[in-house]
């Protein structure tokens, strides 16, 4: 008889596959921002008036919260990427995959605490 969990999500790989999905989502988010960021930085070639006007777009608390999300995406992608490379280049560490996953998430969350406080204050200052 089919069990309930047979009908849940396509991704049944536990922490490993969820972290893999998050790696892709954060990667796509960062490259989409990069496309826009190359263009907004390139405006500097058109002089101070043009560039400073573009940079005004960042002086907005909502945009600053999105920036916090960007920093979180870059950090997650970086720390999860380190974990992927550890397992790729030292296959024996695969025996400790679960510990590596929870360890890397602990590093990510610990880093996000001060970053959220600092960038959250910057966003509030713009209110």
């Amino acid at each position: 008889m089919a069990k309930k969990r047979d009908y849940t999500t396509l991704y049944k790989g536990h922490e490993g596959q969820w972290s893999w999905v998050a790696h892709r989502v954060t990667g796509v988010a960062v490259i989409l921002f990069l496309f826009a960021h190359i263009v907004d930085t390139a405006v500097i070639g058109w002089g101070p008036n043009a560039y400073d006007r573009v940079m005004q777009a960042y002086e907005n608390p909502i945009v600053r919260l999105m920036e916090l999300g960007l920093v979180a995406a870059v950090l997650y992608h970086a720390i999860n990427g380190i974990r992927i490379m550890i397992v790729d280049f030292w296959p024996k560490t695969a025996d400790r995959q679960k510990q590596l996953f929870y360890g890397s998430m602990a590093v990510f969350l610990a880093a996000m605490i001060p970053i959220t406080i600092i960038m959250g204050k910057q966003a509030l200052d713009l209110l």
């Binding site: 790989g13 596959q17 490259i31 390139a42 101070p48 870059v74 600092i118 960038m119």
Partner: protein, 143 residues
């Protein structure tokens, strides 16, 4: 016959694996796999350093205006940093989009069209960013 996908399905006992499995042999997909890891190690410093430098010191992104960038780019080290970040992040990101597209887009025509779009967009942004980083001259604006 299933459409070829670069990411093999997870094997039993492989539940906690997170990365793309290393492609067999020494073909293009192997070098793509290896490039992602080598560029990742460099980007750990360039990209993480960049977002922290821009957001964390007092003032955060509010500091960033024309004179901030002009002063920063007086130093060839920062121009080199920014150009390497531009180049490696674009190739790493576009290769990521390519791998994701090969996993989820099954129609061959759409795959080719999407990947072609990424390459054109990536090349155009690489050229734009390179011209700006290399040729920017604050003296042109009386500074």
């Amino acid at each position: 016959m299933a459409v070829e996908t670069p990411t093999k399905p997870p094997r039993s006992g492989d539940d906690y694996r997170a990365g793309r499995e290393r492609p067999d042999g020494r073909g293009g997909e192997f070098w793509s796999w290896l490039f992602m890891r080598i560029s990742a190690i460099v980007l750990l410093f360039l990209a993480v350093g960049h977002v922290l430098i821009m957001h964390i010191p007092a003032g955060g992104v509010s500091r960033v205006d024309f004179s901030f960038v002009a002063t920063r780019w007086d130093n060839p080290l920062w121009r080199t940093w920014d150009w390497m970040l531009l180049t490696l992040a674009l190739i790493h990101g576009i290769n990521g989009l390519r791998v994701i597209t090969l996993d989820y887009v099954r129609k061959p025509g759409l795959r080719v069209a999407l990947n072609f779009t990424y390459y054109v967009l990536g090349f155009a942004l690489f050229v734009l960013g390179t011209i700006i980083v290399v040729t920017f001259d604050k003296a042109k604006w009386g500074l």
